[in-house]
């Protein structure tokens, strides 16, 4: 996008007709749909241009779902210089297809191995580093204190109390837990946290990696725990997107919402205040299991075949610097990944920071920890399970069949 968000039809026409020729170019494809992320990205690009005058930056903006759907297409057919993608297995197919440029040298030169020490493994596939992370958002339970008060419920100390609360919320016709799974992924966050709480980090990662059968009794146990709250989850969640579920929490039609901390701004915009919006780590299910958290990371990558690879490298080095990580995440209110960056002082960010820094392990997200095909099938299964918990066995058998096909 020639980046003028406030344009009239006339200037559109003019700018399309006169495509200026720049000696140096940088084309980046990023999905940015919230005002804060657009602002943060505009600031980032402006700062980059200032640091590197003479490079004209073209930003193609997308909404997140369209971006994910067309990612593979443009990567193969018409690669830009820089793309945003996700860590872990989510980037594996592209690495294996030879579509991402390894940037180990860039990391070494910029000192990223130290500054991103905690993230290095998530950026590494088969011994090479393929990206620079720029933000992180922990997943947690966000809750509406006003609703808790109305229902006479108190913050649950463990999962049993959480389930007990659900009865109280049901009594005042409020959904105990809400989610919006039209795009499937929000449901995976619930599964991940319940599985992490039931069996811990290692088991969860093994399951995601396809090393454990879906029909294993331990997986069943996770689903049975989930089944205890399934009847109290917003019934129409399959027709709601995550913003819609956020609206339910904000309007007091739901009490709890398992979502990434990126939703805080949306919730506050929806009318919640720092007093009414609570945030807690997902309650303990098995006290013997050390607490692990889910904290997906987003990252920048360079496609193989980028028309301006040198400028792309300049950009990746730039976004990794502590200053830029601080600035970007101060606008989006997320956590910088560079350990020399300063997170902005924000109530929810602080809670999240505390959660993550004391956790036993950090998972990325089901669709980043698992193979893409498996993730797609599993997320459909999660959605179906919430709507029809009685089909647990069918769903697990189907997922096991998928696992066997994919990881044969």
């Amino acid at each position: 996008m020639r980046k003028h968000l406030s344009l009239t039809g006339l200037t559109v026409a003019a700018s399309l007709l006169s495509t200026p020729v720049f000696a140096e170019e940088l084309i980046i494809n990023l999905p940015r749909s919230t005002e804060q992320s657009i602002e943060a990205t505009e600031n980032l690009i402006a700062a980059f241009k200032e640091a590197h005058p003479g490079i004209e930056v073209t930003w193609n903006n997308f909404d997140d779902e369209t971006y994910k759907a067309s990612f593979r297409n443009f990567l193969a057919a018409n690669p830009p210089d820089v793309v945003a993608w996700f860590a872990g297995n989510r980037m594996r197919p592209f690495v294996e297809a030879g579509l991402f440029e390894p940037i180990d040298d860039l990391w070494a030169k910029a000192g990223f191995n130290e500054q991103f020490s905690a993230a290095e493994s998530s950026m590494t596939i088969d011994g090479n580093i393929y990206g620079v992370p720029y933000q992180q958002a922990p997943w947690a339970v966000f809750f509406n204190r006003d609703v808790y008060e109305r229902a006479g419920a108190s913050e649950p100390a463990n999962f049993d109390e959480f389930v007990e609360n659900c009865e109280k919320f049901a009594a005042i016709e409020v959904d105990c837990l809400t989610t919006g799974t039209v795009d499937l992924w929000p449901g995976a966050g619930i599964f991940d946290l319940i599985n992490l709480r039931t069996h811990g980090f290692d088991f969860h990662m093994q399951l995601a990696a396809g090393e454990i059968e879906w029909t294993d009794p331990r997986v069943r146990e996770t689903f049975e725990n989930w089944g205890r709250i399934a009847p109290y989850i917003t019934a129409d969640n399959a027709a709601i997107d995550w913003d819609g579920a956020a609206a339910l929490l904000a309007q007091g039609k739901a009490a709890n919402y398992v979502i990434g901390a990126f939703a805080v701004k949306t919730l506050l915009n929806g009318g919640m205040t720092e007093d009414s919006l609570g945030m807690m780590s997902f309650p303990t299910i098995n006290a013997d299991v050390p607490r692990a958290e889910e904290a997906p990371m987003d990252s920048y990558h360079i496609p193989v075949g980028a028309p301006n690879p040198d400028n792309a490298r300049l950009f990746l080095e730039f976004v990794g610097t502590p200053d830029q990580q601080t600035a970007y995440n101060a606008t989006t209110i997320r956590m910088p990944v560079n350990n020399q960056a300063t997170p902005v002082d924000d109530k929810y960010l602080n809670i999240g920071f505390e959660m993550l820094s004391t956790a036993e392990g950090l998972s990325q997200f089901f669709d980043r920890d698992a193979d893409a095909d498996m993730a797609k099938a599993a997320m459909e299964g999660f959605q179906e399970f919430m709507a029809r918990p009685e089909r647990m066995d069918d769903i697990l058998e189907r997922l096991e069949a998928t696992r066997q096909r994919i990881y044969k």
């Binding site: 593979r72 799974t181 129409d236 459909e380």
Partner: protein, 295 residues
């Protein structure tokens, strides 16, 4: 002065006229069909090595529950979509009057067809949306139970088809209005003399004359039903949990979307869909051929 050889031999002339169309059509339509059939025998992720796997993709399809869901939904689409034909006739009969302003009415009844399916899908997404949609609110008001059609696996396909019927009924209506216009009024008068009225007049006198319109209406409706893609992509992306998939969307998911890297598998789905359509294409062509012979 014209010499005979300044003019291309008659046998070549039609080919010169035809050449550009044939070139485009072969490159972009005919050859791709053949290529897709070939790809359906490959294991190919679209980027790397192609491996010949014979009929394996088709065998996998037979074991895939999603394939049967899609096939079942295609059949539902086909059957229910055909309701657009009688419904279009009913609207046409209703509007085939000459009161003041009827032309405007006809245009306004027709115009859902002009809008793109993307917009129709958005309109109906809003219509069905939980909490804020018109339909759940009407249902809530009437029966006290709001239903989010697009979240229910048993309703979602019907909900999308209803959205599709809206423009399709308009299309059939316009076909029938045109047909009704050219009906032989002498036959109607003769029917009236024979005391044919209302339904029997419609059935024995009018409908036979509307046969060409009915034929076109059925053809475009069947093709439209099998082509259904836009509405599903916009309204549900095949969900909830894949229950509103049809073959066209299933193919897109498998080969052209974020998780879709299975070119061979997707091509096999497309070939199955093509085979189903071929039945209807053949029927259409046979009929056209008969007309050509009579002409």
């Amino acid at each position: 002065m014209s010499t005979p050889n300044r003019r291309p031999p008659p046998s070549l002339t039609p080919w010169l006229f035809l050449a550009p169309a044939i070139l485009f059509f072969s490159v972009y339509v005919i050859y791709p069909v053949i290529q897709s059939v070939m790809i359906s025998f490959l294991d190919w992720d679209g980027l790397g090595e192609k491996t010949w796997v014979g009929f394996e993709n088709y065998r996998d399809l037979l074991d895939d529950p999603s394939f049967y869901t899609s096939l079942k939904n295609n059949v539902i689409w086909l059957l229910l979509y055909l309701a657009a034909v009688p419904a279009g006739l009913a609207v046409a009969l209703f509007l085939n009057q000459s009161v003041f302003g009827i032309r405007l009415y006809k245009s306004l009844f027709f115009f859902p067809f002009v809008i793109s399916n993307v917009v129709v899908g958005l309109i109906f997404s809003w219509f069905y949306a939980p909490n804020l949609g018109l339909l759940p609110n009407i249902l809530d008001w009437l029966f006290g139970t709001p239903i989010a059609v697009l979240a229910e696996e048993d309703l979602v396909t019907y909900g999308i088809i209803a959205a599709g019927l809206w423009p399709q009924i308009a299309y059939c209506m316009i076909l029938y209005l045109t047909g009704l216009n050219s009906i032989n009024s002498e036959l109607i008068e003769a029917g009236r003399l024979d005391n044919a009225k209302g339904f029997s007049m419609l059935w024995y006198v009018v409908l036979p004359q509307l046969r060409p319109a009915t034929f076109i209406a059925v053809v475009v409706t069947v093709i439209g039903a099998l082509r259904s893609f836009d509405l599903i992509a916009i309204m549900t992306s095949g969900g909830p949990y894949g229950s509103s998939r049809v073959l066209s969307y299933f193919m897109f998911e498998q080969s052209l979307s974020e998780y879709g890297t299975a070119m061979g598998y997707g091509a096999a789905i497309a070939v199955v869909l093509f085979a189903i359509m071929l039945v209807f294409i053949s029927l259409f062509i046979v009929r056209m051929l008969a007309q050509e012979r009579n002409a």
